[in-house]
Symmetry: C2
Subunit: 412 residues, 2 copies
Amino acid sequence: MTQEVRSGSNERLYVKKFGGTSVGSIERIEVIAEQVAKAQLSGEHQVLVLSAMAGETNRLFALAGQIDPEASAREMDMLVSTGEQVSIALMAMALAKRGVKAKSLNAAQVQIHTNSQFGRASIERVDVQYLQELLAQGIIPIVAGFQGRDQFGEVTTLGRGGSDTTAVALAAALKAQECQIFTDVAGVYTTDPNIEPSAQKLDAISFEEMLEMARLGAKVLHPDSVSYAERFRVPLRVLSSFEPGSGTLIRFDACEDKRNQVAGIACSKGQAMLSLSRSDDSPDPFAAVFSLLAENGVEVDLVTKAGMDDGVSFTMDADRLSWALKVLDEAALGLSLGPLMFEKSLAKVSVIGAGVHRRAEATAKVFDILGNEGIHVKLMATSEIKLSLVIDEADLYRAVRVLHHAFELNKV
Amino acid sequence: MTQEVRSGSNERLYVKKFGGTSVGSIERIEVIAEQVAKAQLSGEHQVLVLSAMAGETNRLFALAGQIDPEASAREMDMLVSTGEQVSIALMAMALAKRGVKAKSLNAAQVQIHTNSQFGRASIERVDVQYLQELLAQGIIPIVAGFQGRDQFGEVTTLGRGGSDTTAVALAAALKAQECQIFTDVAGVYTTDPNIEPSAQKLDAISFEEMLEMARLGAKVLHPDSVSYAERFRVPLRVLSSFEPGSGTLIRFDACEDKRNQVAGIACSKGQAMLSLSRSDDSPDPFAAVFSLLAENGVEVDLVTKAGMDDGVSFTMDADRLSWALKVLDEAALGLSLGPLMFEKSLAKVSVIGAGVHRRAEATAKVFDILGNEGIHVKLMATSEIKLSLVIDEADLYRAVRVLHHAFELNKV
């Protein structure tokens, strides 16, 4: 089953993004240059998007941290955007050495326009005229990922993982045949192979499924880049820069024959759960609670309100728990909240697939499987294509393994 | 004797350039930030120009060297210009922490326009409107030295030591009261204090003298920046960022009372001398020889042609000698050159000062002093304000010491 080429897309034009480990050393840069040179010979048109060399962004963050851990986002962007400029220049040299015409370009040169949200800017527009001129001359543009420039000429960054978004935005604007995200894994797996060795690489996955996998802890792709790719209908492929293979294609259309299936099991640790109740019969205080948390920068994840019960439970990063408790404690009286209950050392495990919602037995099955293992489900939430459960962190790996087996993901 | 302020210059506006060792670590950046904050409180208006942190530019050159020692200058500039962007962002953070309003700016943001000679670009124009807006708002602009952008938006660099030129260009465009070059020495000395401990710091020196000192191995200032400062009549001051002091002022007008004096003794090692003769009576081949050397990137320094003698002798960097010999050997027959004579392990010592040219006895004195010491002068060349001698490298320190003493430079 092959991916249909979008009408008007440029056949054989590929935007290829290489992450930090893929360009983490001079040796790795040479390896990638060799691959790119070969693809060039085979007739591919290529635009490269690079991250900083592995470790470089952390080195720069550490330098800034020594001066001021609360340094302004504007200056942080000026600082950390240099990492990508180093790797693109080095890649241009490695390609030139092989006789391949290439040119490194920073975001200001490409004209990657973003808003002015330093540290987590969004791409508003990409000018592709210059890139198209270079491609027409047989020159490979090598673009700094992660960076942008705002309307005032300020240097911005898209936040961690933002190089994926740069690649998708360029692929969309250039109508590339595919946006290929090269990483250190062979593709998207049914679950983390470090937890369950029988995990299988998926040949294809739908955008919706990938989005849930990405949000729920499969660290292959940044969720923003998946949303962006879906919005602009850019076929996205995840593949390894370390070994050959066709990776995993992220498709617009779910495969018909997999419509009722489960695609994978995603998981993440370091969760906390808070439960709130009301102290009296005054109007529902929970809307006020969540806006208060949002104002104070606390992101909540799964939220459940169980029927007739007056309480609300939600999950969040355990790292931010003490801050959230402080915020809520101070507001408790004014908001008519009862005592706050919380639990730490929790994990979230999610069963993801187009089939989850429609197969009512999936829910029963999950409870049955975990119940047989003596794993207590503390909170559960469902969406169109996922079913998420909160359990004790200590039970996580066991839960992943039994679910992976029960949904026959080792036979994908 | 105080320096007259140029008509129309902005009193108390200082462009301050800090070199690599001055911002070589987080601790050093904090020290400079503290000095800048104090100067701000005392009412100074400041524009900072920074080099990359010491070692950073070499680290980047080494990375490129691993890929391709002959990498294109365009990509080298893209690469090495990142070093300055790191130090300006860190300095902005260190100032912000102290409550001082500051903003880091790269060359594209300031609009430092250069030609397109990658690796050794010349500044053509600097737009100061944005800098003036920031100054008017009490914000200290922190500008990346060494970088520029050409008319196509390409990143350029001014060559090593180019941050001095950036500072002078900004001081000229802003009509600053002074351009202050902060370095790791207290000022310009009568000679290298490591060679002659009685060397004295000069309070002032003329541009011409400074230019000769800079060209002849006093590594305090880059010669291009001195020429640039002279051309735009920017008062230049060299001072230490490590210890207090007023440094050395480089003046438009030589001090009247020093007009007949010697300002200092400069020296440099690693010289080679080549002597050429003609093989027959065909027309003088030496013009062709020097254009051939220029075409092949060989820079010659002192050139002497001794009267009736048919030969020419010149000095050059010993590092490039084998290359020069190869170039000349191949051309020898066609150019009617006789055998090439050369000598390595030579040094150049120069007596510099407005008085050198007019005091005929200076020449005699030098020969006398060195002769008494048994130091053989192999080549000599003079200009308006200098007298340069080529001697054996092994004699250099002794020559510097006896000349320094004989011209009474320990009593400046």
